[in-house]
């Protein structure tokens, strides 16, 4: 009953003029209404299509959920730390694709997740789901919104235009749906500013990954791996304009285990600390960060806010330079596995925390060819074991050019974890070293 009413209300905000006004008019009713439609659609597909009992929620379940309130769930690490944030990106982009800004779309993401948790399932609402779906959805959603706008081109026509619209769909399906609704898949007009980032570095690579204990019951020590690195905008060369005007994302896939790492960080705020025209630059930045690391040996991830300084020192006149980053962070909610952690079927803890990271890199025209980095994070469990976890992560990466755009990349990293328990269990620690050798292709678009 709710969905048809919302659909009618939303129609009042649909604009089918096929134009591309900038800034686009904000349609909050449509944005919030679309989150209800997303939830209704997902719920009915699960209930009718997949015969899931947990999706057969009704007024009795809604009243119970509202009365009992939040709990911690027992879902798998991948579900909680990746699938839910991806779902949250749909909510967030309901706002972004309806003319709402970054901050204005934040409540849309929280509302979408809150309403799903309370009304979409018979289970009690899960606090970790609300956190991960909302904060993770905001980080991934804004990134997807910008990458989607880069893929789409309002000046293109014919088959290229359609291909671009389709290619952007899995990244920003809600944006694509709204454009289709407004006839903007074919209409021509100006592109939004995020369509063409002034600076970017894209690196793709494939090769081998070496480590011990990849697979517990196997002697395998190497496997195929795939890398994607995207730097969107310049952390020090670009004055702050809007949240996520600068972001970076790293994706690591392996032939065993699939998604090994997904790390995304977007600038929420930036301030020049010296002359913007100087050769050496220092910039204060506040970033929103999403981390997901999963191996048979380790699972850690979370949503963080970090503050620190990015610097760049130019060397000579051929584009070489040194970049440094020094950041402290607060983990809003993190997740980590260790012996004895978890709750019920869940094998990892949830908790807030804090940490710091530093990085030193040599670059040419914005593309790093030698990078040394280290990160230390503390997580205090509030669900699972009575434990405090310390995670450290560091390594070195080098990329050697062998032809135009092509290069060899070698890296070595060590992941360490120490867990201290307050309920009498002994302290547990382990290390996980690994190395990678990849053939990489780099595309640089700096200083246009």
């Amino acid at each position: 009953m709710m969905a048809p009413v919302v659909a009618v209300l939303m129609l009042l905000q649909v604009d089918s003029t096929k134009q591309f006004p900038y800034p686009p008019p904000a349609r909050p009713l449509l944005a919030f209404g679309e989150t209800i439609l997303i939830n209704t659609l997902v719920n009915r597909v699960d209930a009718w299509g997949f015969q899931q009992d947990w999706a057969r929620s009704g007024t009795r379940a809604w009243a119970r959920n509202l009365r009992l309130g939040w709990e911690w769930d027992e879902d798998a690490f991948f579900t909680n730390m990746f699938s839910h944030p991806y779902h949250g990106a749909l909510y967030f982009n309901s706002g972004r694709s309806n003319g709402m800004g970054y901050f204005e779309s934040v409540p849309v993401a929280f509302f979408g997740s809150w309403s799903w948790e309370n009304f979409g399932e018979t289970y009690r609402p899960s606090l970790n789901d609300w956190f991960m779906t909302s904060f993770g959805g905001i980080t991934l959603g804004e990134m997807f919104h910008r990458v989607g706008a880069t893929i789409r081109d309002n000046n293109a026509g014919g088959g290229t235009r359609i291909l671009r619209e389709i290619a952007a769909l899995p990244i920003d399906p809600i944006g694509g749906f709204n454009r289709l609704l407004r006839g903007q898949w074919s209409a021509k007009g100006p592109n939004p500013p995020e369509h063409a980032p002034a600076d970017y570095v894209l690196r793709l690579g494939g090769g081998l990954r070496f480590a011990k204990q990849f697979i517990h019951d196997s002697s395998a020590t190497s496997m195929g791996t795939f890398l994607l690195d995207l730097l969107y905008g310049d952390q020090v060369g670009q004055a702050y304009k809007a949240p996520f005007d600068v972001f970076n994302v790293r994706v690591l896939l392996s032939t065993y285990g699939g998604l090994n790492a997904l790390r995304a960080s977007g600038r929420l705020y930036g301030k020049n600390l010296n002359s913007p025209t100087g050769r050496n630059r220092h910039m204060l930045a506040v970033n929103q960060r999403y981390d997901f690391y999963k191996n048979p040996a380790q699972s850690v991830g979370g949503q963080s806010i970090e503050i620190g300084i990015n610097s760049r020192w130019l060397i000579g006149s051929k584009g070489f330079g040194i970049r440094t980053a020094l950041f402290g962070d607060g983990i809003l909610l993190g997740a980590i596995d260790a012996p004895g952690t978890g709750l019920g079927d869940r094998t990892y803890d949830f908790g807030p925390g804090a940490g710091a990271r530093w990085e030193l890199a040599l670059e040419k025209h914005g593309a790093r060819f030698l990078r040394v980095f280290s990160q230390l994070e503390y997580i205090h469990a509030v669900s699972g074991a009575s434990a405090d976890h310390l995670v450290d992560f560091g390594g070195i990466e080098a990329a050697i050019p062998i032809a135009r755009g092509l290069g060899l990349s070698a890296s070595s990293t060590i992941f360490g974890r120490t867990s201290r328990y307050t309920d009498g269990r002994t302290r547990d620690a382990r290390e996980f070293p690994e190395a990678r050798l990849l053939l990489v292709w780099t595309k640089v678009g700096f200083g246009k």
């Binding site: 800034p23 909050p28 009365r67 009992l68 309130g69 939040w70 709990e71 911690w72 990746f82 699938s83 991806y86 800004g101 901050f103 204005e104 934040v106 409540p107 929280f110 809150w114 606090l127 609300w130 956190f131 904060f135 990458v147 989607g148 880069t150 893929i151 081109d153 309002n154 000046n155 671009r164 290619a167 952007a168 769909l169 899995p170 990244i171 100006p190 592109n191 500013p193 369509h195 063409a196 002034a198 970017y200 894209l202 793709l204 994607l228 995207l230 896939l253 699939g258 998604l259 806010i305 709750l343 949830f350 908790g351 807030p352 205090h380 469990a381 509030v382 669900s383 009575s386 595309k443």
Partner: protein
């Protein structure tokens, strides 16, 4: 997993599109001009009091414990844009007749949140939506009689807190406003250890109705 692979595949398609994109398009319409914002401007502050209800659940609890208490808060912040404010909020609830078990009203419970908040004014009126995240604190004191000497055993927990809500700024002059608030505070406190009892994975949710005084 297929979803992840699909996502990465499409990212690659997007990357190809980056390399093939057109030069930046400068034919964009000029931004719409608006008048001065009618609500908070520059540095602003707010404090207030109200009634609150705390609902405490835990991983082994089959029901929630509900209690009422007094609440207070302080907010201070600045403006991000015409419609968006950012600030800090300090909130606490105190209940001196709390209980973790039915009929047990000897525990003093205090929960607090220190959060970074975002306030969004969707229109030109005083209505705003608030959301924030920060550190949470919970303290539970139980009086115990040890050999005729009554003392309080206190257990504290620290964790993470979320806040959300809505409110309305009612201007009473150019610089001052009365602000009505309906807020929720979700605080995850971890394990709370009381004398002879351990309560696992405590989540305290506080609902608050308050009146505040705003300097804007």
């Amino acid at each position: 997993m297929r979803l992840a692979l699909c996502l990465v595949g499409l990212l690659l398609m997007g990357a190809g599109s980056i390399t093939a994109q057109q030069p930046p398009d400068t034919t964009v319409a000029p931004p719409v001009r608006r008048g001065p914002r009618p609500h908070r401007n520059g540095l602003w502050g707010e404090f207030g009091f109200g009634a609150g209800q705390v609902r405490v659940g835990c991983s082994d609890c089959e029901n929630v414990i509900v209690a009422n208490g007094a609440t207070s808060y302080v907010r201070i912040g600045s403006t991000v844009s015409d419609n968006v404010l950012i600030g800090f909020e300090f909130f606490s609830l105190l209940d001196q007749a709390f209980g973790f078990a039915t009929g047990d009203t000897t525990t003093t419970a205090e929960t607090g949140t220190a959060a970074i908040i975002i306030m969004w004014y969707p229109g030109r009126h005083g209505l705003f939506i608030k959301g924030g995240v920060g550190a949470a604190y919970g303290s539970f004191s139980v009086p115990t009689d040890s050999g005729g000497v009554v003392r309080a055993d206190t257990s504290t927990g620290g964790g993470v807190g979320l806040t959300f809500g809505l409110g309305w700024d009612l201007p009473i002059s150019r610089k001052f406003a009365l602000t009505g608030n309906l807020s929720g505070f979700v605080t995850a406190l971890g394990d709370v250890v009381l004398p002879g009892r351990r309560v696992d994975d405590v989540i305290a949710t506080v609902y608050q109705a308050s009146i505040g005084f705003t300097i804007r």
